[in-house]
Point group: C2
Chain length 183, copies 2
Amino acid sequence: MEIVSSKNVSSADNQQERIENCGWIVGIVDGEGSFLVNIFRSPNTKFGWQIFPEFNVSQSKKGIDILYALESFFECGHIYEHKMRNKNKRDWDSLFKYCVRSRKELQERIIPFFQKYPPHSKVKRNDYKIFVRVVKMMSEGKHYNIEGMRQIAEMTKYMTHRKSFSESSISKFLSSSETIRRA
Amino acid sequence: MEIVSSKNVSSADNQQERIENCGWIVGIVDGEGSFLVNIFRSPNTKFGWQIFPEFNVSQSKKGIDILYALESFFECGHIYEHKMRNKNKRDWDSLFKYCVRSRKELQERIIPFFQKYPPHSKVKRNDYKIFVRVVKMMSEGKHYNIEGMRQIAEMTKYMTHRKSFSESSISKFLSSSETIRRA
């Protein structure tokens, strides 16, 4: 699969191909991508929790060249393999994920691209907008105090969640006695 | 979601937006689309089987605006809802599918678009190429004789199958005693 990297985009000979390619990236992300904000227990940190924004795109093995194309386009991130029980529970399926978790890379590579080429679908565009605000707040250090962490967590209520929000770790963070006590 | 229809593409004011949009369609199809050739038992037909090429794109309810965008872009096809048992088997999930099954629409709307903007991923591009050959053979009436039907069925061996090929209806068609007897 031929793909123009995001860095070389302005010097690409073929302007039309370059734009079509940017549209293609957005289509893949609208279909299979996620802008997520994760929160994990992290006993060694000040508040016992840490917030991690993540951009990812999933594919089965058949579509792994799509993930390589994204990695080469954004010139950052990593591809991970996840093993999942398949429907018949007799076997394992592989799911592949292209992930960008570094805040620097999210700010310098991922967000600038989607500012220019935002997702088309309502749900993904909404997730993206909140994601950008979270990354911005983190770059301002808002997550270093409990009030900022709570604000971030509250914002993520309006994002897509794989499980229901009440089952998510964000919800657990918000309702934990430590969080309430410290607030 | 704003989308330019495939018909009005050449008159669109914004050339860049038009091309980005075409790239977006390809991205959605690379991620979530299928070029399929189905074969079904059809007792009232000459050979007892009928071949149906189909282009489709699936989405969960959250992404249904993507399917409306495709319907409006290609100005053909339909959106169907499928109910599927969810993982916990306690409930039903809805899956939505944008489908184009009319051979005329496949030939006049779908194939010309992807001739200009082919899928980027290897697997999808391969499926598309075979799909085009099948539709062409059918437009030449090759499926009206058993040898042509067998040729088409053999070609689909090299396409993606949801189940393994040996479990597919195409395989059943090829190995049925009627098919063998008539050949």
